[in-house]
Symmetry: C2
Subunit: 290 residues, 2 copies
């Protein structure tokens, strides 16, 4: 399949490489030209603009930072649209923004799929991302062979915007999950109890989660290297809270979690992994770094 | 082993029955005499008081409602203490209360273990409870054969009080976990997206938890039958928040969760399972019961 790929950052680069390895014919574009080099070396075509990356392809994929970037890229894509083009955005943006972009593309004759991912850089490199897709059956079917090069757990959740809704729900559960494990560990230490024993006891019961197992172990190891940076989770929780505001939705746990991620950014921990929430709790409670 | 067992409620009765089936010689006492009948029918001896239940046994176990009950029962046990008696409380109470009770028993020559459980009535009947124990090595070793009749995941976490600290940590993680899944589901519905598809997508990634799998399915089925009653989780979150207050510990996620369980009790949902947090969120957000 001929695929245009726009955005070659930490996530986009390995995703695009996996498309090349899957045998697809790739044209790439990135704002910073030097980001394109590894893809060109691997056999991709370079484009001079987002519009050019979308010209003459079956599928165009964007992986950029935020909703304004997606909107700008997709406006450029729309000007190059040939009949039957499917556009996929895999960035994490607000559901409402995804729906608006989908509508704008529809009026230019482009079928749009919002397909954010989870699994981070590790999953992007391994081609094992979770992909949560929203869009028409036909557009999803067109994108599926590309998704299968990049991810493992691929779910067509519903209509346009449903992928971003699912990603936001994922960030609620993972954000609160990391905070819960961090609070449980801070609670154990402040009570003079061995955190590793507490984790061990909890893993055997209903408290089991992948976060308790993986992130919990990294908390014990005090390995705060990202992984998934706190400022990115802060951005995602802001999407959650903004959507909750627009819909009149009461999410007290997500709200507390969003505030803690705000504090991560505010207190200079934004570049550390989200598990550094533990360090923040320890600072707030007078527990020495150990 | 000769065991005295005090408190034969929803949890205590099946736990005591499992001790009998494990071949132990059981003397039971409960405040309400009719609670004792099923145990007497199964071959246990009946006692006329908590003191009498503790007389001449190797191990005495309590499974009652709250810290004042435990303290009262253990004062009665102390008056019957023979050298080498080990007392185990398996109720969920505050760590500080457990430590105090342990100190009072120590001065009467009784070695104390706090060993709260998780797994609910189902786990108590199946003998598959998680047991989190705090106390001396010798006392834990004495109690272990009894624990093995009642539970599967048995962890000696640390000194006196460590069992209750671990249980509180467990309730932080499970309480926040249930709230997180309920918020994710309310978020999906309010956005017009199929909750079951969202759960399916999340199960495949880092959002996986036993709570998403089991409690999440019960939320989809709208099966709010306990299980674990909301007023009991409210009581446990109060222990967490009271302990946090005493220690100067900042737990924002647990605090939001505790408030939601307060609201469960206040809005008449206390007798329903903790997953009825979903109903509360729906009510607060104007989503019809469906």
């Amino acid at each position: 399949m001929k695929i245009g790929f726009i955005g070659l950052g930490i996530m986009g680069r390995p995703m695009a490489l996996n498309l090349l390895q899957g045998g697809h014919q790739l044209t790439v574009w990135a704002r910073r030209a030097e980001s394109m080099q590894p893809l060109l070396d691997a056999g991709a075509q370079g484009a001079a603009s987002a519009t050019e990356a979308a010209r003459g392809v079956d599928l165009v994929i964007s992986m950029v930072a935020d909703a304004p970037d997606v909107a700008q890229v997709m406006r450029a894509v729309a000007t190059a649209a040939t009949p039957g083009l499917v556009a996929v955005d895999m960035s994490t943006i607000a559901p409402a923004a995804a729906r608006q972009i989908g509508q704008a593309l529809a009026s230019a004759g482009v079928d749009f799929v919002d397909a954010p991912v989870s699994g981070g850089e590790v999953g992007a490199i391994a081609g094992s991302l979770s992909i949560m897709a929203g869009g028409s059956d036909a557009a999803f079917a067109r994108a599926l062979p590309a998704f299968e090069c990049m991810g493992k757990n691929i779910v067509h959740v519903g209509a346009s915007g449903a992928g971003q809704v699912t990603k936001a729900a994922n960030q609620i559960v993972t954000g609160m999950g990391v905070l819960a494990v961090a609070e449980a560990m801070a609670f154990a230490s402040k009570n003079g109890v061995d955190r590793s024993k507490v984790r061990e006891a909890l893993l055997g019961g209903f408290a089991y989660s992948k976060i308790l197992e993986n992130h919990g172990q990294r908390m014990l190891d005090r390995n705060f290297k990202p992984g998934f940076k706190s400022w990115m989770h802060e951005k995602d929780m802001n999407i959650v809270m903004q959507t909750a505001h627009e819909l009149g939705l009461c999410l007290p746990g997500a709200a507390a979690t969003a505030q803690m991620f705000n504090a991560m950014v505010g207190s200079g921990l934004g570049e550390e992994d989200s598990i550094a929430l533990l360090k923040l709790l320890e600072t707030l409670s007078g527990q020495a770094d150990k």
